[in-house]
């Protein structure tokens, strides 16, 4: 058995660059040896949006850009034994698997062995839940975060492509590592090491210079062609993070540390369905240009429960914006805000942003903005937003902002409004024995 498993990342979220995967696959093929390509495309709310899409059209509900993401690399992966593991199945992994078969046929490729991981969709499985009453109203989806085991089983059974719905993001990497190295499911340190490799990969370019650059302080070369990461996973669970030769971006001690701590709370207890990872003794070491080792990750026994996300319909978000420029722009924007506060009184919290003065760092309640002394900013975009249970009430905001054209302060221009439904999110825990994670092969 080859000592190293290479896992490359082709996407870090739904909406990521569509041309990122091909250089990664080329690098995996050039390196030779066992290799896997992952796409992580399923954020917290993405699955609920997919579930809503599936209700409208039973053949949808998977990653909308699946074709664009996978088509450019499918032939190369199948021809070179680069296996694909992804959560792009979202709310309908069976339909995604069938699309992959159609893609392969359309390109004249050999018929791929496509496995689907099932068991995460607890509504489809008919599993009752300890659901908070607030989440029951308009419940859209209830999905358990599955672990790496079913992915590993599918790969061991010979899958070229493993299509998942909701699995823990790092499990997309741990699954292939389990299948490759044959680790015991209680080999906590190794499981934790590969889990943190997955954590470093799961956001794509965020470990290789994306979400990092800060000119003059943190310079990153050629961000227009940033290279997506490849982890070389070793038999001891440690990994080396790199990227395709000649690609843009930067992988160094600092970019890796930032991603290691991203969305992490207690560094001694990063909880996944597979293991509780502990990075308090971990080391990050630069081995060379764009090559960084992560070692010393420890693991503790996995939790007895799985996290379940419940998504429910949660009213409407209304937003409106208008710009003021030149002399007294800030004063005119503040006057416009006062007019809207009066016109929309009684509809609940109205958030006010003075973009160019104070916006994203401020709280919804207006305390931060209130603490800012009025000044003389000369280019200000007023933004207002509110949530409301009823569409018609939320829509009053968009109408009032539009009416500022004729009823508001002088020189107001560039109104944009937006009205859209919101999804609420609750987490509950269920005993892992109640969830039946499994894989099935899907024919064309």
């Amino acid at each position: 058995m080859e000592k190293i498993l290479r896992v490359g990342c082709g996407a870090g979220f739904s909406g990521d660059r569509l041309d990122a995967a091909e250089p990664v696959v080329d690098a995996l093929v050039a390196a030779g040896g066992p290799a896997v390509l992952i796409f992580e495309t399923l954020a917290e709310r993405t699955l609920a949006l997919a579930q809503l899409a599936r209700r409208v059209d039973a053949d949808t509900g998977f990653e909308p850009l699946l074709d664009e993401l996978l088509a450019p690399v499918l032939g190369k992966c199948l021809a070179n034994g680069v296996r694909v593991v992804s959560n792009f199945g979202a709310a309908n992994p069976m339909a995604a698997a069938k699309l992959i078969h159609r893609m392969a046929a359309a390109q004249g490729l050999r018929r791929p062995r496509v496995a689907v991981v099932l068991g995460d969709d607890l509504l489809a499985e008919g599993i009752s839940l300890p659901t908070p009453e607030t989440a029951m109203h308009g419940l859209v989806s209830a999905n358990a975060y599955l672990g790496a085991e079913a992915i590993a089983d599918a790969l061991r059974a010979g899958a070229d492509i493993v299509v998942c719905g909701r699995v823990a993001d790092p499990s997309l990497v741990l699954g292939p590592a389990l299948a490759h190295f044959g680790w015991s499911l209680t080999d906590w340190d190794r499981l934790a090491g590969a889990t943190m490799a997955g954590h470093l990969l799961e956001c794509g370019a965020q470990v290789s210079g994306g979400y990092y650059a800060d000119p003059g302080f943190k310079d990153v070369p050629d961000m227009a062609h940033i290279g997506y990461p490849i982890a070389e996973i070793h038999a001891d669970g440690s990994c080396v993070i790199g990227k395709p030769a000649g690609s843009g971006g930067r992988i160094d001690e600092h970019s890796v540390k930032e991603q290691l701590l991203y969305e992490l709370h207690d560094p001694g207890a990063y909880v996944t369905p597979d293991v509780v990872a502990d990075i308090t003794s971990a080391r990050v070491t630069e081995l060379g240009p764009d090559r960084v080792r992560l070692s010393g990750v420890r693991g503790h026994a996995r939790p007895a429960t799985l996290k379940v996300h419940l998504c429910h319909q949660n009213g409407w978000l209304a937003e409106g914006e208008i710009s003021y420029a030149g002399a007294r722009a800030e004063a005119r924007a503040r006057l416009a805000a006062d007019i809207l506060r009066e016109r929309l009184a009684g509809l609940g919290t109205l958030r006010v942003d003075l973009i160019g003065v104070m916006s994203v760092l401020a709280d919804d309640g207006g305390r931060t903005l209130h603490s800012v002394q009025p000044g003389s900013a000369r280019d200000v975009r007023l933004r207002v937003a509110l949530n409301h249970e009823q569409r018609e009430s939320a829509q009053r905001l968009t109408r009032e902002v539009t009416a500022l054209y004729t009823c508001g302060p002088a020189g107001g221009g560039g109104v944009r409004t937006n009205l859209r439904p919101r999804l609420g999110l609750h987490s509950v825990a269920v005993a892992r024995e109640r969830v039946r994670a499994r894989h099935v092969f899907v024919e064309a």
Binding site: E44, R45, Y211, Y212, D214, G216, F217, K218, H254, K257, E258, Q259, L260, L261, Y262, E263, L264, H265, D266, P267, G268, I279, T280, S281, A282, R283, V284, G296, N314, L317, T349, R351, D353, V357, M358, S359, V360, L361, A362, D363, D364, G365, R367, T368, S371, V372, Q373, G375, A377, R383, A385, L386, N387, R422, L423, G424, L425, S427
Partner: protein, 136 residues
């Protein structure tokens, strides 16, 4: 001693889960790490983010990584599912923390990262929380 913005000795990024935000603060050099331990503490962070009313502020130290992880609960107005903020994830919040004034020995001057771009008198000066740590 010199007073410089935190971003001249450390870098970091924000992550979110629900209504909870974590901000990593990572020393640019191992010798800067004790200044983070001393000065990027829970009391300072709580004050800096006061208008966003965190329920709890907890700091974790990572001595091997020369990093601090600050976890702020309840500062995202409900997070991506209900916040009215344009940046409902709070991705920009690390730059509020990285503005924190810190005191460093004068001999660190040649080691500090980036140019001295501290605004002498700018629009930011009317934003009180930019001054929150400056006197402290």
């Amino acid at each position: 001693m010199l007073t410089v913005p935190l971003y001249r000795i450390a870098h970091g990024r924000t992550g979110d889960k629900g209504d909870r935000s974590n901000i990593s603060v990572i020393a640019w050099r191992p010798e800067f790490w004790p200044a983070l331990v001393e000065q990027v503490n829970e009391a300072v962070v709580t004050e800096l983010f006061a208008t966003r009313r965190p329920i709890t502020v907890q700091r974790y130290l990572l001595p091997h990584l020369h990093a601090v992880n600050v976890v702020l609960d309840g500062i995202l107005d409900g997070g991506v599912t209900s916040a009215l903020n344009l940046d409902s994830h709070g991705k920009s919040l690390c730059f509020l923390l990285l503005d924190l004034p810190v005191r460093v020995p004068e001999e660190w001057a040649p080691l500090l990262i980036g140019p001295d771009d501290t605004p002498a008198a700018s629009a930011n000066d009317r934003i009180p929380f930019h001054d929150a740590g400056r006197n402290g």
